[in-house]
Symmetry: C2
Subunit: 296 residues, 2 copies
Amino acid sequence: MALHWGICSAGKISHDFVCALSTLDPTLHSVMAVAARSAERSRKFAELHQIPKSYASYEELASDDSIDIVYIGSINTEHLSLSKLFLNHNKNILCEKPMALNVKQLTEIQSLAKEKNLFCMEAVWSQFFPIYQKIREIIASREIGEVQIAQATFCLPILTKDHVAMKELGGGVMYSLGMYTAQFAMMVFGDETPKSVSVSGHLTPEGVDSGANITLLYPNNKMATLVYSGICRMSNVAEVGCTEGKIKIYPFWCPTHMEVTHTKTGRTDQFQFPLPDSNVKPFYDNATGLRHEAEL
Amino acid sequence: MALHWGICSAGKISHDFVCALSTLDPTLHSVMAVAARSAERSRKFAELHQIPKSYASYEELASDDSIDIVYIGSINTEHLSLSKLFLNHNKNILCEKPMALNVKQLTEIQSLAKEKNLFCMEAVWSQFFPIYQKIREIIASREIGEVQIAQATFCLPILTKDHVAMKELGGGVMYSLGMYTAQFAMMVFGDETPKSVSVSGHLTPEGVDSGANITLLYPNNKMATLVYSGICRMSNVAEVGCTEGKIKIYPFWCPTHMEVTHTKTGRTDQFQFPLPDSNVKPFYDNATGLRHEAEL
């Protein structure tokens, strides 16, 4: 039986998430309804994506008994209240990152989900890409030795957008880009806990972070070095340095390419993981890769 | 008339420097003598590179009146005393990096050179590569906008070597690899002074640095992010992120490849700067590029 999705908010990321769902088996994933604050936007979104129902309020979506799980694609400042709304209506939720703006908010959401016995996940889509799974396997197999360094850079000129630049909209480049570099380090080092975390970066006059360089120091000389900035564009690759080789992936937050180099032989193996196209064109690069987090 | 070179020490880097000199016009650069502590090593080095004279002590080289300039390729701990020896014998010097182990030593060498009115330079070869000159031109022309980020990574498994691992031999990975990332940032940001410098890294039980992540914060949201490690190998590229494009070079400390990407058009221009071969095979990658610092 198909999982019945509800889509909360008709913005760009919701658009792309529905594009991604459309590439999956329709007997497994079916979008039943969309909700936005504007009836017009909601209706247009439903029309474009051929969604049966459109609502002009999130409360209506929460009250729709046909929905199993709600995808929350609204702006950051609404994640707390919307997560609570849907959980309180016994809906499972997949909430765009950042799920909350601080630990206190996050704990509140998690406690409620636990109390209600509902599925509740932050949509860190990178973690579900086949390449991430492959990296976990390579690291576990130690075929290129032991991990020493994880490095990720994510710089795009997004500080021009209000929802990134303005503190009152839950802005800050760490929430938009920096978190991707952090999740990469956490994936590479798995259960290991850093013995120190250092951050050095800039704040804008509006009081949001524009970019930073982060160091996570782990025991045994291991480290993660993470760079993000909302001001200009960089190559945005990530690498894992191991004692007997290295792994390089790009674009690292939604990777389709991986290179694994064996230091001793100099051999580099190339891996390609192409993504399907959707009928409706997505806004963001490799956005049909959002399908992987829905398949979980 | 040819510049008459003396070579101080018969190690790998001296070997490579002489290979590089051999690719230059012999009427402009001529190696007259080599000196090492062992007569046998000195003689073999002279034979291999067809150098007229070989000495079994640095003092003999210093006393050779036919020498205009001495290349000092000895281990780090000897740079101070050897620089002073040659300057005191009125020889110009080109000394391998690090020229000294601390600022006090460096000031001593520089003062002596100034007093004697002699040429005295640290052999930071990267700075003389044609690609570095090209980067300076691109930055000055602002053809891809204003510089925002400089990023360089230099990781090679060199902590296995005594002269890197042992403090009493002037070891430490900053001296061997980290300094290359720092000179890259200094080149990119030219006369600008960082408003803060942060370093987070590891020390080995022997008390030398094994690797670190360095942040230089400059005014107006600009930053340099520098990573080095002596434990494993990474791709070791450097990038300059500008408001309207980016520059990528590799291998960044001795580059033969450059890519310049214009953000607006998506166009990437490729530049290749091949290096000549020498008759005797060098030890290090792209080592004939050492010729550029001799040509200065």
